[in-house]
């Protein structure tokens, strides 16, 4: 199954569900009392990186994992390769 998925290039829907939930709940829970912190962070990170690199907004993933004591913020940005960089420069 995993091989099939690898070749079809489509993620299984469960992982999509997980990411959507995490973004949504981070928003709803209001990390550190700021209800839209994750969304704001995502927008500002996107804006900062976009000043230097042509980015596909969909390739920026901001993930928040809530733990008992510590939460981690994971930022995953897919940056295009050299030709696209040159075009952006």
């Amino acid at each position: 199954m995993k091989l099939l998925r690898f070749f079809s290039g489509r993620p299984a829907s469960a992982s999509v569900a997980r990411e959507r939930l995490q973004i949504l709940l981070a928003h709803e829970r209001g990390l550190l009392g700021q209800p839209d912190l994750v969304l704001r962070l995502r927008e500002e990170i996107l804006a900062a990186v976009s000043r230097h690199v042509a980015l596909d907004p969909d390739k920026v993933i901001v993930r928040l994992d809530r733990g008992e004591h510590v939460s981690t913020l994971e930022v995953d940005i897919e940056v295009p390769n050299a030709p696209a960089l040159a075009a952006a420069g």
Partner: protein
Amino acid sequence: MAKVLVVTSGKGGVGKTTSTAALGAALAQAGKKVVVVDFDVGLRNLDLVLGAERRVVFDLINVVQGVAKLPQALIRDKRLENLWLLPASQTRDKDALTEEGISRVIAELRPNFDYILCDSPAGIERGATLAMRFADEAIIVTNPEVSSVRDSDRIIGMLDSKTVKAERGERVAKHVLITRYDPARAARGEMLSIDDVLEILATPLLGIIPESQDVLRASNVGSPVTLNSPASSPARAYTDATRRLLGETVAMTVPAQRVGLMNRLLGRRAA
């Protein structure tokens, strides 16, 4: 003195009532004196799942309003002498339940039972907040599916803020019970995994109940699944969950996919 447990979820249709019946029965089978209280005013169903629907005379609201005394409203299970039911009312007047009234009923039940299981209505309205109000512990029933997990998260927030225990600065102990788990879909990556759900909700796991015809059959005949088909996989999962509630350490079994005979002969494995 009884421990008060609320069975809650936020979302409807995830299996709160069947889980309340199964856990209540399993606790009674383990020798504990249990009362299950149906908080679903206007839509009572716990009596039906327990097969006591024709024995309801008085209900929770009658007791709250002083029309009946608590012993008159309690229905003793015909199969398990340790299990009692306090049914909900059919009335549509949701305001008939008051916090003060529920407080009195719980206080009167506490000295006489080991466990009080409150079956919460769906939603986050008054009925659900009253069902969790006096809880010592909470069982959050969750399906591995986005809307259910989202609502569970919401309910967890309420358990941490809107209960008497929370207001005293104490914590309501919380457990997640994953129901309607479909191993085949999970294996194909089409269903949130157990780990996903637990990581998102950051709450310990009480048990995993597989999606099963046995649960529906048990409801059909009005007998909790742990009584109706004790050897079935959901019944075993509920029994294990109950033992964990009682403080035992029981290894967690994730329901596995049944591999058909043909596939086994052909040497195919579940992905």
